[in-house]
Symmetry: C2
Subunit: 275 residues, 2 copies
Amino acid sequence: MKLNELVQQILQKKSYLCVGLDSDPKLIPSKFKTEKDPIFSFNQAVIEATADYAVAYKPNIAFYEALGPKGWETLQKTMEIIPKEIFTIADAKRGDIGNTATKYAQTFFDPSFCGLDFDSITVAPYMGEDSVTPFLAFENKWAILLALTSNPGSLDFQLIKDESGKTFYQNVLEKSQEWGSVENMMYVVGATRTDYLQEVRKFAPNHFLLVPGVGAQGGSLEDVSKYGMNKNVGLLVNSSRGIIYAGEDTFISAKREAKKVQEEMEIYLEKYYEL
Amino acid sequence: MKLNELVQQILQKKSYLCVGLDSDPKLIPSKFKTEKDPIFSFNQAVIEATADYAVAYKPNIAFYEALGPKGWETLQKTMEIIPKEIFTIADAKRGDIGNTATKYAQTFFDPSFCGLDFDSITVAPYMGEDSVTPFLAFENKWAILLALTSNPGSLDFQLIKDESGKTFYQNVLEKSQEWGSVENMMYVVGATRTDYLQEVRKFAPNHFLLVPGVGAQGGSLEDVSKYGMNKNVGLLVNSSRGIIYAGEDTFISAKREAKKVQEEMEIYLEKYYEL
């Protein structure tokens, strides 16, 4: 998907909601458990319920991988029912080099390999340039680099300052912009602290940010919107559990929660977004 | 597998060779291509040829993932024919947090999920403690953390010095030892420069190192052995292409190349290893 198509969808739906498909056999309502492919049936209910309010879906690949070969079939089937105009993110956090990175890219980007045609994949930047550029070689596909995550362990390395006072995640933001552009690279930025978000925007004013950590993990959607928006809106805010596991009747509860988030986003778009 | 079992196997076989199963449908000899499962038949020939000389096998997960659901079946079948006493490494470079990391660990460590029972998995440390500890929760299983890799991009971030003069990879070595021990954690260390290997041994004198980058990528096996060995031998040196693609008759050529490396390792064990 191209940048302008994504932006257009956001402005049309008045939403920058990404729904995370962290679909777990143990957490889905019991009524799905008797279905032939419980996770697919659950995903189908979530997607039908939320497609009017979400601009992106983000299957968490670990959850499909853990189901073995069948999990990959479930993932393939899930991808087929996501409406074509909605942005898709393989949350795989892959990070390897050369021909190995190309294999990962082919897996998620080139349908002739696994039948998967994701728009983007999350990528771990530890190994540097040659672990990122293979993903950027695919037209209209995106690499979403881990920058500043919202987990407790993010403090271990991401905030270590170098000799010039720049933190590690700032080095990632700066260096990676030599490899890709605002049209094929985004960053994962946790929403736990607004001062970090302002820092991120200094180093990457124009890129889209994929923001987890709103809601359950403590970030405020209003703050994220206020400090994170740019001239392309520039935000995809993810919610997983708060939407997909909101109640026993998945269709009704997921629709209700997604709509609630979309309506809040509509307010912030009016308040903070300037064309 | 326990540490002492691995060390015992190394001393018995007089080898610390890890064979990388980067098995690519485009690179395997044509005679396998008419088999029902070409990659499995190829792996079978490699394993039968090298099991006397190798102490570890390292399937590169990207190569199986790119084949779709069938690739996971090929991986499962391959794991079943690896002799039980040989150490197995899922080269997956996973890195995610909390319940997602646990899913990745279950995928590769707990056979009740995908039928896979790897001894270890490679892990990217970017997200910190909570992206590593879920792998350490499994008994007799190992996390092999990326520390200093041998690719050109390793220069982008791993060698950035912090305010105290410590490089990022040294911070990874130091910090991670608070999370795991020599009995459940190893490090990936490229073999391109011996001064780095000496640095690594200052920060992690007792851990096993998984060393790629010998041979094709330019490192010297003698230097790695001289500067990398510790009281447990402490080295697994990987070779992939140099062994598995050494000739059209895979069994004969892989056996020949693996034996050659083992014999060289036997010399270095006599020369540099002190019990």
